[in-house]
Subunit: 148 residues, 2 copies
């Protein structure tokens, strides 16, 4: 009985926690999109840019995989980033492959993007230090337990 009650309670806590997580995430999507608009990027464009380490070009196929979208979309996203001079296409050894490489300007904008994404919302920033650390530790643990 006790273990059943505990199990039920545990599941319910997970659902409540997730509902709150969802609420906080949703409220902050608008904030992020607004920050990205300041540098003239959409979310998929910013996401792609974030994937590009300054000294490690990435095949377009891999970008599609990380963006969880069809490869045909990456063509358009890359076109728009390239038109703004943020990335350039480079042929690989296998000449079917094209890798996207950051330009200097792209690396600059990328830093801005990463900063926008990493800046915690007021709700998290307002927590006492102890709870911030507890939150960090729990989320780290969660991601260790399951890859998503």
């Amino acid at each position: 009985m006790a273990s059943m009650a505990t199990a039920a309670s545990s599941t319910e806590a997970a659902r409540e926690a997730w509902a709150l997580f969802f609420e906080l995430g949703l409220a902050n999507r608008a904030r992020l999109v607004e920050a990205l608009e300041e540098v003239g990027l959409t979310f998929p464009q910013a996401h792609a840019l974030k994937l590009l380490d300054p000294d490690r070009p990435l095949p377009m196929s891999e970008i599609a995989e990380r963006l969880v979208c069809d490869a045909s979309n990456v063509t358009g996203i890359a076109d728009r980033l390239e038109a703004r001079g943020l990335v350039e296409r480079r042929a690989g050894d296998d000449r079917r492959v094209k890798a996207l490489a950051l330009t200097a300007k792209g690396a600059e904008i990328r830093n801005h993007v990463i900063e926008s994404m990493r800046r915690p919302p007021a709700a998290i920033a307002a927590l006492p230090a102890e709870e911030q650390r507890a939150l960090r530790d729990i989320l780290r643990h969660a991601l260790e337990l399951a890859p998503g």
Copy 2:
């Protein structure tokens, strides 16, 4: 000195916590979109549906506000939901206003949508009960401290 170190550490913990939060949220966007595809809904459609309490129709203007989008978009979203028989437009006292009301079928799909959104990801479900409760309590506290 001690307080400076604490303050710096606190900010860093918040940033780390948020980065992990972001990662978990991003990984679960795909999962949700996939679940919504099973009932043939896009995210904005599902979001709108979720706002509609079965016995409380909502003016389209309020839906636009909650979806953080221009009112003109709600016309199209409502069109598509209405074409599938999930909502219906109702004239208000002020006959400029149209409220969206759930149909019986819409209420059914809405329950499915809410269940999809509330189902915690493996990462959260796998946490020990104690950490699930701690996570819930911290997020609840965060949302009390700031509205988003």
